[in-house]
Every structure is written in C-alpha cells, then in structure tokens.
C-alpha cells in the first residue's frame, strides 16, 4: 500500500524523519494537503516532515511538452535536471542553470532557486516561465507576472503549494562536450582573481586543509561547451555501506587534497569531458554521502558581498584550525539576486564546505553563521541543518513578505517542514 511509514533523510544524513510517504504516479494521485519533496538532495531538514505525512514527487517525472523552436519545455515536477540535460543537449538545448547534482528535480530546483557554475545567467528561477501549484483549493498556474505568489514560490521551500508542473525556457546548447581548463590557484588572492575570468562556466575547488600562505590554494576549473566527439561516459559506482569513521579522518583528507591539487600540472591542463562529468562531478559515485559514516555530515554554504571576500578567508582559517576534516570546498561567484523573497543568490562570493557531523562542528557553525551575518551575507537553506532561526530571518530581508504570501497561500500551515519549524520561518 502507498503511504506507508518510512524513515528518510536529506543528503547529509545527520537528520532523519519518520512518517507516511506517498509516491503518486499521476497528478490525480497527489494529495495537496502535505509537503512535497524531490530527490532530497538538500543536505539538511528542508525536505523532511517528521511525525507527519509527505509526498515523494520523483515518480512524477514525465516530459509533458517541448517546442523545439522556442526551447520551452513543460515537465512534471519530479523530472531530474540530469535527465533533461541528457535528453536535450544532443538536440541543442539544456536547462539554463543546473546545480552540482543532476539528481535535483525541477520541483526542488524551484523550491531552492538553485544556482550553477554560470553566475552570469542568474538562478534557476530566472528561466522558469510557468509553475502549476496544487493546493486544497485546486490547481492554478502562476507566471513571473503573478506578483508576490511567484516571488514566494521560487526559492520558497515548497510553502505555497505542491508544484506539479513547470515550464522552463531551455538555453541553447552548442554541443555535447565540455572543454575544461584546470589551473592551480596558489593562494587566496590568486584564486579570487582567477574566478573573475570570463569563462561561461567557472568553479573553484579549495583545499580547506591548507593553512598559512597556502590558504585558499586550489584548482580553478573553467568550462566551455563545445561541439565535436562526445567523450565516453563512465559507469556508475555505488558506495554500498556506511564507511567507518576512519574513512575521512583529517590525515586522509589532507593527503587526498594535496594529491587533488598536485594532479593538475603547474602549467594547467585542458581536457574534454561529458557535460554530466563537468556539471555533476560526484553523481557517478552513487550514495557518496555514505563516506561520512553513520553520523552523517553537514555542509556549510554562505554568500557574502563581493567586498567581504576576506571574511571567507577568515572562515577557512577557522575551519582548518578546528581540524574538522573537510575534503574539497567550493568557491564560486554569484550574480545579482532576482528579488524572489527567500532566494539565496545575491551578488558576491559563495563558499561551501563539507564537515562531518562531529560535536565540534556545532560551535564552529555558529561562529560561521555570525561571521556571515556580520558581513551582510546569508546562509543557503538547501544546505543548512544547524543555523538559528533568528539569524536566518535576519539574513533574508524579504522574509516578512514571504511570510505574508505563504500565510495567504497556505493559511493552515499544511506545508510546514522540519526546517520551517526549526527556523520558525512561519511563526
């Protein structure tokens, strides 16, 4: 029977929820009275509803319509961005913005207004032209012209209703391969400079264990989509069990990071990869989150204004000093925000660091949270499991507008999730 009790978690596996989960296969089967989630690639408690019911949208993943002239694509909310990239790239189109995992669904990408490695193109929501929202009052289609309800839905954590369908404006995709140039950034200053390049896709991998003069060192990857032979895709691998606590101990991580850095020659190098390997580098290793063992892990991600980059450097110092072994950390540019009430992207630098779920991480996270706030930045809710509600509400200047609209759309609080309750976003 559908709707049985399940225990499930976000990607970080540090928080779990237990409750009845429905798996509708058609829109008719969707119960509009409970929160929805996608592939739970959010790290923390955003897609969890402990002790209550939730809807898993992933079986609703059909393509509904595509116009090859305009590139307008209508899909059900559970369709994954990885699938859409695989299907449409050979036909000359791609989702305009994709996050670092192809398992993210369209519903989840809207709920978090995700960003990609192409900050000049804005966030995912900037390329959505229509959303179908289902609530107990019925189905309605909203568009960017719908005003507050649109701004409360895009990046809105699923609080305005169940997203059943969306129409995306795909972006032209000139080829099916990515020409990738990797270069070493020797330190912090060089790293930021290199991230300012005008490559269409750009991301920096930081060795978060490096200290002193080497702090900020890493590899900057620039990508450009090219036509030509498609490189061969590698087969997927699976991490079958929870790794022992040892697997990611500080010494191992340090060695791994050093090797990751050294593998790119001093002069840099170029290679051709599949689009998927470039956009979703870890997806081929299924369940890699299990490398962190039974206790799971957290990811801290914040964005600070461009002129506050030094704060991120101080954060890296604190993280290295705390000895919480974090493998690669990611540094990216973000473009100007889009005005959606709870959307994360704003003009600045964003830093994302994984940390195993250990006792010393909590106080560290508090410290990083304070530094983010004081720098005028914000924490990304797709990653968060530790922040305080008061700081989050203060970091998102349009929280009150969002709350107004969400209260109108969902007066009975049907869509509240564990995250919404923990951060008191709706009270």
């Amino acid at each position: 029977m559908d709707g049985a009790i399940e225990t499930y978690s976000g990607w970080g596996r540090a928080h779990f929820a237990t409750g009845p989960v429905a798996h509708p296969r058609t829109v008719r089967e969707v119960d509009p009275g409970k929160p929805a989630f996608g592939n739970r690639r959010s790290y923390g408690d955003a897609p969890l509803n402990h002790g209550r019911a939730a809807t898993d949208m992933t079986a609703l993943d059909r393509i509904v319509a595509f116009d090859p002239v305009s590139g307008l694509l209508t899909v059900e909310a559970g369709a994954t961005l990885g699938d859409l990239l695989r299907i449409y790239a050979p036909r000359g189109w791609k989702p305009a913005v994709v996050p670092g995992t192809g398992f993210a669904t369209v519903g989840g990408a809207i709920g978090m207004d995700v960003h990609g490695k192409n900050y000049r193109d804005g966030a995912f929501g900037d390329h959505v032209t229509a959303i179908t929202l289902l609530t107990p009052a019925g189905e309605r289609e909203i568009t960017p012209n719908s005003g507050a309800i649109w701004k409360a839905t895009v990046g809105g954590l699923g609080q305005t209703g169940v997203i059943t369908r969306a129409t995306l404006q795909l972006a032209p995709c000139p080829g099916t391969a990515m020409l990738v140039t990797e270069r070493r950034a020797r330190d912090w200053k060089e790293h930021l400079e290199m991230l300012g390049s005008d490559a269409p896709y750009i991301v920096g991998w930081i060795d978060a264990t490096a200290t002193g003069a080497a702090l900020g060192r890493g590899i900057v990857e620039e990508g450009q989509i090219v036509r030509g032979i498609t490189p061969k895709a590698k087969a997927a691998r699976t991490i079958p069990i929870d790794a022992p606590h040892m697997a990611l101990n500080p010494a191992v991580v340090q060695a791994f990071n050093a090797a990751y850095y050294a593998r790119v020659p001093k002069a840099g190098r170029s290679s051709v990869r599949t689009l998927e390997t470039f956009f979703f580098p870890l997806d081929k290793i299924h369940d890699w989150n299990r490398l962190y063992g039974k206790r799971g892990f957290h990811q801290f991600q914040c964005v600070v204004p461009l002129d506050q980059a030094d704060v991120l450097k101080q954060m890296l110092e604190k993280i290295a000093a705390a000895g919480v072994a974090s493998p690669l950390a990611v540094l990216k540019r973000l473009g100007p925000g889009n005005g959606n009430f709870m959307s994360f992207p704003m003009e600045g630098w964003t830093l994302a660091v994984d940390m195993p779920n250990r006792p010393q991480v909590k106080p560290l996270a508090r410290e990083l949270e304070r530094m983010t706030f004081e720098a005028g930045g914000r924490i990304y809710l797709a990653k968060d499991a530790l922040a305080k509600g008061s700081s989050i509400r203060a970091m998102y200047p349009h929280h009150a507008d969002w709350l107004d609209e969400v209260t109108k759309a969902d007066p009975d609080g049907l869509y509240a999730t564990d995250m919404v309750r923990r951060l008191e976003l709706r009270s």
Partner: protein, 245 residues
Amino acid sequence: MSAETWIIVGATSGMAIPFTRLLAGRGAALVLAGRRMEDLSAMATDLTERGAVSATPVMFDARDPGTFDAILAAAKAAEGTLNAAVFVGSMPEQSAIDADPALVDGTIADSLTGPARLLTLLAPQFEDRGTGTIIGIGSVAGDRGRIGNYVYGAAKAGFATYLSGLRNRLGRSGVHVLTVKPGPVRTPMTQGMKMPFMAEADATAEDILKAADRKKNVLYTKRIWWPIMSVIRAIPEPIFKKMSV
C-alpha cells in the same frame, strides 16, 4: 523507420517505465499496452521526447481477451524487428485471497492465462518473421510455493513453465524467449513493504534489456537470487513445509 519495435504489455508497471525509457533512448518504436489510457498517452509523449521513434498507446486488459486484437494488429504493422515484453501481473495479499477465494481467478488471469493467451496469439507472427525477442516477467516467488503468497507464486510458476515451452517452440524459428525472475523491486507493487535485497526498478530494467540483448534464457535479478533460490528449491519438502521464508 525504426530498427526495432517493442510491444510493452502492462506498460504502466513500475518496472516497465524505466525499461521503455531505455528503449526510447535507443530509438525504438513502442506500443504501450495497458488499461490506463490517459496515463499511457502521457507516457507516450514523454517517451517520444526521450527518443522513441513512435509510442502508441493501446487498450489492454489481461482479463478481457477481446482487447487482444488491437495488440495483434499493432504487431502486424510493426516496423523492423518485432519484440514483446510482458510486465502485466498483480499480487493481492495472500490473506485477502484466503478471505475471498474468487481473487484466485484474477491473480491467475493477470499473471498467467491472460499473458499466455496473448503470447499464443502472437506466436505465429513471430514465427513468420523468424526473428525477435519475447520477454516474460516471472518471479522468484514462482520457484517455490510459500505460505506468504502461493497463489501469486503459482501463477508465476505456471508462466515460467509456459515461457520455457514457448522458448522451446519459437527457438526453432529464430525467435528468442527470455524469462525474468526478479526478486523484490521497488515499484508500486511492493510499495510500503520491507523486503530483503530490494532492487531499484531502473537497475532491474537495465538488467533485463542487457539479458535480452545477450539472448539469455533465464535471468535472476538481482543476481544474488540465483544462488538463494537454488538453495530454497533444494530444501526437502518435509523441512520446507515447516519453514516460513
């Protein structure tokens, strides 16, 4: 024109959906047979976007042989190599069957008599073409009658025996028959059930297509079920009758 046409019987099945997507990805023509027409037409649009040369919904009810003609006609019109994959089946709780023995008939019709009658009608077309593959989905449940679901198991055992005979017959004209015996797979049929070695439907579909391409006769998927079922089949009846596995 496509090099292969596949008739998918029970196309809305949780296992069939990823299977049809694999076929779409290699440009097959698809005939989608099932009883939920609205969902089949949504599926057809999706599969065409995913690369199928064509995808045609056809009404099919395993319990109503009157619906089989449409499938026979679609087979006749098929371009390229004709193939068929039968996913239809139903698994009511054994306790529900015990309470209402009339459910035996439907269970057998969905997993055995319906599919067997349809395949028997299709067989001459395959013989005439002298090529192609027929896939039938049985189950590890058919390998031994167990207290938990022996009516479903009986239907699947019968279907496996039918497929073995069909293979024997059609092999003579160059047509291949693959019997698939899945262990538990996460699909609507097993929704909410806790079972050992649960497989994902995507992986099962990949296994099935690979086995069909390699012209395997019998596929246990996941592979672990082959040794497990070998052991279970070997347990002497005096012992087995006291076990609950």
